[in-house]
């Protein structure tokens, strides 16, 4: 009955803390840097490109996490930005622009611009309306891409070669992996700075209570729009890299299923956690890679797994650690049930 108590009951999303320490970051970077070397020495070069894919989708999921986890904007249309980045690179390549330092920033710019347009309109709405309007925009992009022969229609646009950087060929999987690692690494540093900054703090607070933040003088709409554009731009970067990895882009990247999967990754990992998108993408792709080779009913298992995660760890794997810590701190002190259960509505 008390409006504030409703907020207290929702699954605990992280608030202003929850950023990784420098040592964790360094360890992760080191591990990622030697990963392909290990795979090569094991004679499993296949896993290098899997590694690139994981990194790229981790970036995409983290981009979505910025809007969804930190900003509370549940976008079911982020595939549009992934696709915008991919098509940006592919279209430029079609017209002969293959230099990475031109094509990739241009693709990111295109995605960010798309996010700006979509954001300006969508951010007027709230809740489910926002979910649906972002979905509708992604659908618009999909139909556009499918029906325009210039974009290859249903067949998509192939990329005849990867983007070029002077002095280094990206054609080998290993070189490309390091290129992805470097680019995604930069993006993650940017993301880290974003969520740790005053901007990030204001964003999280807006997620918590928009009306209050407006009343104490935050330009709420502009802050949310900015986050949405940054999120779209970063998703576009992921899309540009993905197109380079798979040597082309197809309208399938734009389907709502793809948006749904990105969201699934974020939630598996933990929305609003810095490592949420990364963990989620890694877990998802590794599961897919291992399970789908053994059964054609992979979707059944994925579905069951997702359901299990929602019911057991509604805020993802990253929240488990906190929940375990919390449980240890308060060892069944109260005979009552947890706050969530008693107010069954």
């Amino acid at each position: 009955m008390n409006p504030t108590s409703a907020h207290l009951r929702t699954p605990e999303t992280p608030l202003l803390a929850g950023l990784p320490g420098p040592w964790t970051a360094i360890a992760v970077v080191l591990a990622l840097a030697i990963y392909p070397l290990i795979m090569s020495s094991l004679g499993e070069p296949f896993y290098i490109s899997i590694g690139s894919r994981v990194l790229i989708l981790a970036l995409a999921a983290s981009a979505l996490n910025l809007a969804l986890g930190y900003g509370g904007m549940i976008s079911l249309g982020h595939a549009a930005f992934l696709g915008a980045g991919g098509y940006g690179v592919a279209i430029l390549a079609k017209y002969g622009v293959v230099a990475a330092w031109v094509a990739i920033p241009a693709a990111v710019g295109l995605a960010a611009f798309a996010a700006l347009v979509i954001g300006v309109i969508s951010l007027r709405t709230r809740g489910v309306y926002f979910i649906m309007i972002t979905l509708a925009f992604a659908q618009l992009f999909y139909y556009l891409a499918v029906s325009l022969p210039e974009f290859g229609g249903d067949d998509g646009l192939p990329l005849s070669a990867r983007s070029e950087i002077p002095g280094l060929s990206l054609e080998s999987d290993l070189a490309f992996y390091y290129f992805v690692l470097f680019t995604a690494g930069l993006a993650f540093v940017l993301l880290y700075r974003l969520v740790a900054s005053r901007f990030g703090r204001a964003l999280v607070a807006i997620r918590e209570n928009e009306r209050r933040m407006a009343a104490i003088g935050y330009p709420v709409f502009r802050l949310k729009l900015m986050a949405f554009v940054l999120s779209g731009g970063l998703a576009g970067l992921a899309g540009a890299l993905l197109a380079n990895l798979s040597m082309g882009v197809t309208p399938h990247t734009l389907t709502w299923h793809q948006s749904g999967l990105l969201m699934v990754m974020v939630i598996i990992g933990g929305s609003g956690y810095f490592w949420g998108g990364i963990t989620g993408a890694a877990i998802f792709l590794l599961l897919e890679e291992t399970i789908s080779t053994h059964t054609e009913h992979w979707n059944l298992i994925l579905g069951a797994l997702l359901l299990f995660i929602v019911l057991v760890a509604p805020n993802g794997v990253m929240s488990l650690r906190e929940r375990i810590l919390a449980a240890r701190r308060a060892p069944a002190a109260v005979p009552g049930k947890s706050a969530g259960e008693e107010n069954a509505r």
Partner: protein, 257 residues
């Protein structure tokens, strides 16, 4: 005679067929506590919402220190010095008191589009937050999660958030609603103390508080100001008595029957 800080001229706001603010005129003088009273549904909250920019009026003008702010967005009005508190407590319930207040200070000091500085080492925000907490008596509960505070403390924080923005004109919407007699009293003292640095518009149904605190009172009925004056004038205004205050005598007799 002090000069006018806020002027409302012929303000109109409609919700469908309902005229919630009906050619409303109002003048607030610098440094006063101006109480705004009126029956339920008279349009007090709606008027405040227009003053702070949450609602856009259909016509009329709002002048703040002589400047037309009718179309200014909320955050620009906050930086100009108009801040409101809410009738229904509106806080960030999952954050601590310190975090709540620091956010308010951050809004004032700007840089919310500063993407690169980290928050952790910003002692100026902390100082501002502690300042505000001291004024509203929350300095002892700085690290507590707001959602677990008692109603009265939340009301105090509601006010503290507004204060942390360093407003010149403070709009208070029923700050005493739902507070117990003791906390009402404390809130009254707090409001009284604010008077030194701020101009206040106070919407309140607790008449004891209104007549004790206010320098001037305006009475809003059906969206228009029907009377404006000192507490004494208002208390005895027959129009106000019949529309709002009620006739003490009749009530007494009814209850005793």
């Amino acid at each position: 005679m002090s000069h006018t800080i806020l002027q409302v001229q012929e303000l109109v706001k409609r919700f469908g067929g309902l005229v919630a603010t009906d050619h409303c005129n109002l003048e607030i003088r610098t440094g006063e506590i101006h109480a705004l009273i009126g029956p339920n549904g008279a349009g007090k909250t709606t008027l405040l919402a227009q003053l702070c920019g949450e609602l856009a009026p259909d016509s009329g003008r709002i002048l703040f220190e002589g400047r037309d702010i009718t179309r200014l967005p909320i955050h620009k009005r906050v930086s100009a010095g108009i801040v409101r508190s809410f009738q229904i407590t509106t806080l960030l319930p999952r954050l601590t008191v310190r975090e709540n207040l620091a956010l308010a200070v951050q809004a004032r000091t700007g840089h919310s589009f500063d993407f690169l500085g980290t928050v952790a080492d910003e002692s100026d925000l902390d100082e501002g937050a502690e300042d505000a907490a001291r004024r509203v008596g929350l300095i002892d509960v700085m690290e507590q999660i707001v959602g677990t505070l008692s109603h009265g403390k939340q009301r105090a924080l509601e006010l503290g958030m507004a204060l942390a923005c360093k407003p010149r004109l403070l709009l208070l919407d029923e700050p005493m609603a739902g507070t117990d007699p003791e906390e009402s009293k404390r809130m009254g003292e707090l409001i009284h103390s604010l008077r030194e640095d701020h101009t206040l518009i106070l919407v309140e149904h607790d008449m004891d508080a209104v007549f004790r605190l206010a320098d001037r009172v305006s009475v809003l009925v059906a969206g228009a100001v029907i009377a404006s004056g000192t507490p004494e004038q208002i208390r005895n205004d027959p129009q106000v008595i019949s529309a709002y205050l009620g006739d003490d005598e009749s009530a007494e007799t009814e209850a005793v029957q």
